[in-house]
Amino acid sequence: MSASVGALRHHFEDIEQQRGAERLGMWMFLATEILFFGGAFLAYTVYRLMYPKDFAAISGQLNVLIAGINTVLLLTSSLTMTLAIRAAQYGHNGPLRFYLGVSILLGSAFMGFKAYEYAQDYHEGLVPWTSNFGQETLHGDSQPLIKKWEADGVAPQRVRLFMSFYFILTGIHGVHLVVGIGVISYLWVRAYLKTLTPDKYVAVEVTSLYWHLVDAIWLFLMPLLYLAGPHHSLHF
């Protein structure tokens, strides 16, 4: 196919070899990401097993409603990315731009809610290295967090440990998400400029694989962090 010539790089023998290499390369990269997050999950799990009461107590303070909304957003964006692959393969440029665009919007909405949630954590005195850590009184409580912890036998140091893991894990995940949004945006621009032709659809496929991994990591991260303890109030 003459259209393939544009996509074929000089050091590959044929387009199938190139596509095979690109897919394999992305799967291998995803393996490294799993091990990277795996290290953090392991450390978190060790501490969760050592300090179940403290972790349960603080996990219950996190905003599980936002986490739930974010989960739905991310799952939907994985769907739209998969549909984008098919649009790219068939050369349907309009749907391609639509699906890529929706994925970008959903991912950005996720980050928007996350930013809101981080701000809320700050105002609630849950950010470990700030001066108001534990000093705030949350809705439904009669005393500030630090007194509540004292009464329940929860150690502030362990709360700080949990919140550190929370910010590290969600923060690194967020960075990965932003990078993903960047790459999808780049694809959208190429689709807009009509340079993302069907023979180059693998670019959409490997990006989609990456996006699915970011989604999958969230699916593990969210229950580990947010569902480690009972939530007494559901609020926005």
């Binding site: 300090y51 009461k53 036998g153 150690a155």
Partner: protein, 374 residues
């Protein structure tokens, strides 16, 4: 200058004998195998060398391999290595499991010294050396503080750190144990030979890691008992680095009253379990699990009491962090709890406690009787 004991370092404990046997066995086997490889290489290199060191094609047989040989030299080494593993596990098992009734000596590591506390209350500080090894020619005990151990009697060493990870290592005993902050680690020795031996810190811990060293001296049982009784001290170079203040358990009792543990852990009006004879027993906890009351559990119960609450009691005990009770304080209180027998819990308002399980009352400092010989 050649090493004093050129073939082997001094073998001064029972474990040392076991470890050395293992090491020399491995050396023998590996020596034979290694030598075999070298001999084969030498023979082949000489017998099959090319004249004139030529480069280029040469008529050689096309030997691809031999399944039989591969099997032989996979399986035989595997069994040899498994043999090493088994013997090593046996020795390690011995090293990790001290005899039940071995008395305990506590060692607290801190940058850059060792604080050794005997059950009888003697304190020795190793390390904190202004001098270096080069000045210790002949091992005459320039080091301030000598740790004393009895020959022929097992002794358990319980260690913790006040800051970073250290390691208490005695080459002559072929033993070492990492000293970790936040927990107790233990090892044990059965010294078999009198003499003076090196103690090293074997885990890098900062600037003066190499100065965190000392000497330990193994003496006859009679001298050791005199040491515990406070009537004998080794060597002249002790100054105020050693002291005797009453047994650990006695000091622990004083702390038990001073920190007001007695306020709840008493018999008359208890808001907390009575602690008589609890060490080593299994304690049921709230929530259905249970735990053995060992050193680490007792330590955790003081530092973080609401973590594992005894069944039938409320989580009301305040926690004692490093500011309220240092590692050395904890050692004393725990020694006291371990020594508590039925009926020994003091009364709430007792204000002049008699020593419980102690052997001596506090003596005066280094000027007291008995500057013993080395």
């Amino acid at each position: 200058m050649i090493l004093q004991s050129t073939i082997m370092p001094e073998q001064a404990s029972e474990m040392a004998w076991h470890v050395d046997n293992l090491i020399w066995f491995i050396t023998g086997v590996c020596g034979v195998v290694g030598l075999g490889v070298y001999v084969a290489m030498l023979v082949f290199c000489i017998q099959y060398r090319r004249p004139d060191d030529r480069i280029g094609p040469a008529p050689t047989p096309r030997i691809l391999g031999s399944h039989k040989l591969e099997l032989i030299w996979s399986v035989i080494p595997l069994f040899i290595f498994l043999g090493f593993f088994a013997w090593g596990a046996y020795v390690y098992n011995m090293a990790l499991h001290p005899p039940e009734d071995a008395p305990e000596i506590y060692v607290v590591g801190k940058q850059w010294m060792w604080k050794v506390q005997y059950p009888g209350g003697q304190r020795v500080i190793l390390g904190q050396n202004a001098l270096t090894f080069a000045d210790d020619v002949g091992g005459a005990g320039y080091f301030e503080g000598l740790m004393v151990l009895p020959v022929g009697r097992p002794v358990k060493i319980v260690t913790t750190s006040e800051d970073v990870i250290h390691d208490f290592g005695v080459p002559a005993f072929r033993q070492k144990i990492d000293v970790v902050p936040g927990r107790y680690t233990t090892t044990w020795y059965l010294p078999t030979k009198t003499g003076t031996y090196d103690v090293f810190c074997d885990q890098y811990c900062g600037t003066n890691h190499s100065l965190m060293v000392g000497k330990l001296v193994v003496v006859e049982p009679a001298e050791y008992d005199a040491w515990l009784a406070g009537t004998w001290r080794p060597g002249p170079a002790n100054r105020d680095k050693t002291g005797v203040d009453g047994s650990l358990a006695h000091q622990g009792r004083q702390l038990f009253m001073k920190l007001n543990c007695i306020g709840c852990h008493n018999v008359q009006n208890s808001k907390a379990p009575v602690l008589e004879e609890i060490y080593g027993t299994r304690r049921p906890l709230k929530g259905g699990t249970s735990v053995v009351a060992d050193d680490n559990y007792l330590r955790e119960s003081i530092r973080r009491p609401r973590e594992k609450v005894r069944e039938g009691w409320e989580p009301i005990m305040p926690h004692f962090d490093a500011a309220k009770a240092s590692e050395e304080d904890l050692i004393k209180v725990i020694a006291y709890i371990k020594s508590l027998k039925k009926g020994d819990t003091p009364k709430r308002n007792e204000d002049t406690p008699a020593p419980v399980g102690a052997e001596t009352e506090p003596k005066a400092g280094p000027t007291s009787a008995g500057e013993g010989k080395q």
